[in-house]
């Protein structure tokens, strides 16, 4: 601290005639008592009206960072426990000549594979995924409703359509994961097939 080495400035405050004391004189105090000076007094509604909006913000440190840290820590513990107790699947060496009884795509493509059971591969493998991705990307440019309407009740069409789409995708994926057995035929797990035909 450089400024503590020099002795504090001594200022003499001259007495002012009590009858002539102004507002500024009343506020005047020795520098040793207050390390700042009163420059002017602005009465309310005087020159500039200071508009202060209600402050709805909090400090990032610690409010946001502590939550982020906690979330990351929980996820780390969860992954560690998962990795300790559940092994990643590994079957025998890849062999193009031996087709397994049940061959499935990764789970996020099983909705598409399920569509493959009903539609031509061009539809299920090309048109639908292209439509889904491009459709998702253009959502903000299609939904040109009131930009401030964020409550679900204010934008029922968008919410209902999106929810229906999500449910459709989930159901297709769910059927593909659990209700498809050998030869990708319909099968109820544990009833007419021995267990789940699904690898993560």
């Amino acid at each position: 601290m450089a400024d503590t080495s020099t002795p504090p400035e001594r200022r003499v405050v001259l007495p002012v005639d009590p009858t002539r004391r102004t507002e500024i004189d009343k506020q005047r105090v020795p520098m040793s008592a207050r390390p700042y000076r009163l420059l002017a007094l602005v009465k309310q509604d005087a020159v500039v009206r200071v508009q202060k909006e209600p402050d709805d913000t909090v400090m990032t440190w610690p409010h946001l960072l502590s939550i982020e840290f906690l979330a990351a820590a929980m996820m780390s513990i969860f992954l560690l426990l998962l990795g300790l107790f559940v092994n990643a699947p590994l079957e025998e060496l890849a062999n193009g000549n031996v087709t397994p009884a049940v061959a499935k795509a990764p789970w996020y493509f099983l909705g598409l594979q399920e569509l493959l059971a009903y539609f031509h591969p061009t539809v299920a493998g090309v048109l639908v995924p292209t439509f889904v991705l491009v459709g998702a990307a253009v959502i903000p440019y299609v939904d040109r409703g009131n930009p401030t309407a964020t409550r679900p009740s204010e934008r029922k069409t968008a919410v209902v359509l999106f929810t229906l789409f999500c449910i459709l995708g989930l159901v297709l994926t769910f059927v593909g994961i659990f209700f498809r057995g050998p030869g990708y035929g319909f099968a109820i797990p544990y009833v007419n097939t021995p267990g789940l035909h699904f690898a993560l």
Binding site: G83, P106, I139, P140
Partner: protein
């Protein structure tokens, strides 16, 4: 003053410590603002955030956790790369060696596998969260598009990684996956040929998927993540409350 306190003081007063952390531990608003602003990792955040944004039930930390999983996958993936050769004759035995011989190899592979599935899942959930909050509305339209690109990259990262163990699950999942995509009417044969490097899944496919998985898609994802985070700030921070 106890011994530990003296050690603590000595470390904090050392030239190295004070060059590393320019301020003491932030305890008041001013120093906390500086701590966020002056730290290369924390300055991704604004100094202050809106109150509703720190409520867990608003974001469920989905985007942040997706990014955290991306980091976990990068770290575990780099470790696995030391022991893995993308060769049709070696890949499978490398996986077996990782599981049985490499220190923490099994754990690392498990975390990489489960983390990858979780990341796809969390990116999906993040997207749903953003939709239901109407957070793609102006001025955030383009950041939503960047998010869709990131979803695509996440799925592609997972899909290309799926082949690398070179076991029956991997082989046939990729065969089915590429068969579905290979029906693109305009560039049917070339698209599949380019993707697989042949008419069926083989050595060329393994090498292609490996390069895409460890280099091309992570780099693209990192670039789009940077744009994604940058635009959150530029578009006025996190979206408003419901």
């Amino acid at each position: 003053m106890s011994f530990l306190e003296r050690v603590d003081q000595t470390i904090r007063r050392s030239a190295v410590w004070r060059s590393l952390f320019r301020q003491p531990y932030p305890n008041d608003e001013r120093s906390r603002a500086y701590a966020v602003m002056n730290n290369v990792f924390l300055h991704i955040h604004p100094v202050r955030v809106r109150q509703h944004a720190v409520k867990f039930a608003y974001t469920f930390c989905l985007g942040g956790l997706s990014f955290f999983l991306f980091l976990v996958l990068t770290v575990t993936g780099v470790y696995l790369m030391f022991y893995y050769v993308p060769s049709a004759t070696q890949a499978y035995s490398n996986i077996l060696a990782i599981q049985s011989e490499v220190t923490f190899g099994l754990l690392t592979r498990n975390i990489h596998r489960w983390g990858a599935h979780l990341m796809v899942f969390f990116v999906f959930l993040h997207m749903m969260r953003v939709f239901y909050h109407g957070a793609y509305k102006p001025p955030r339209e383009f950041n939503w598009v960047v998010g869709v690109v990131l979803l695509f990259l996440t799925i592609m990262l997972s899909f290309t990684g799926y082949l690398l163990p070179w076991d029956q699950i991997a082989y046939w999942a990729i065969t089915i996956g590429t068969n579905m995509g290979g029906y693109a009417p305009l560039f049917n044969t070339p698209a599949k040929l380019i993707l697989l490097g042949g008419i069926e899944v083989g050595q060329n496919t393994l090498l292609r998927f490996y390069v895409l998985h460890i280099m091309v898609f992570p780099l693209l994802a990192a670039i789009f993540l940077a744009v994604h985070f940058w635009r959150i700030r530029k578009d006025g921070g996190i979206s408003g409350p419901l």
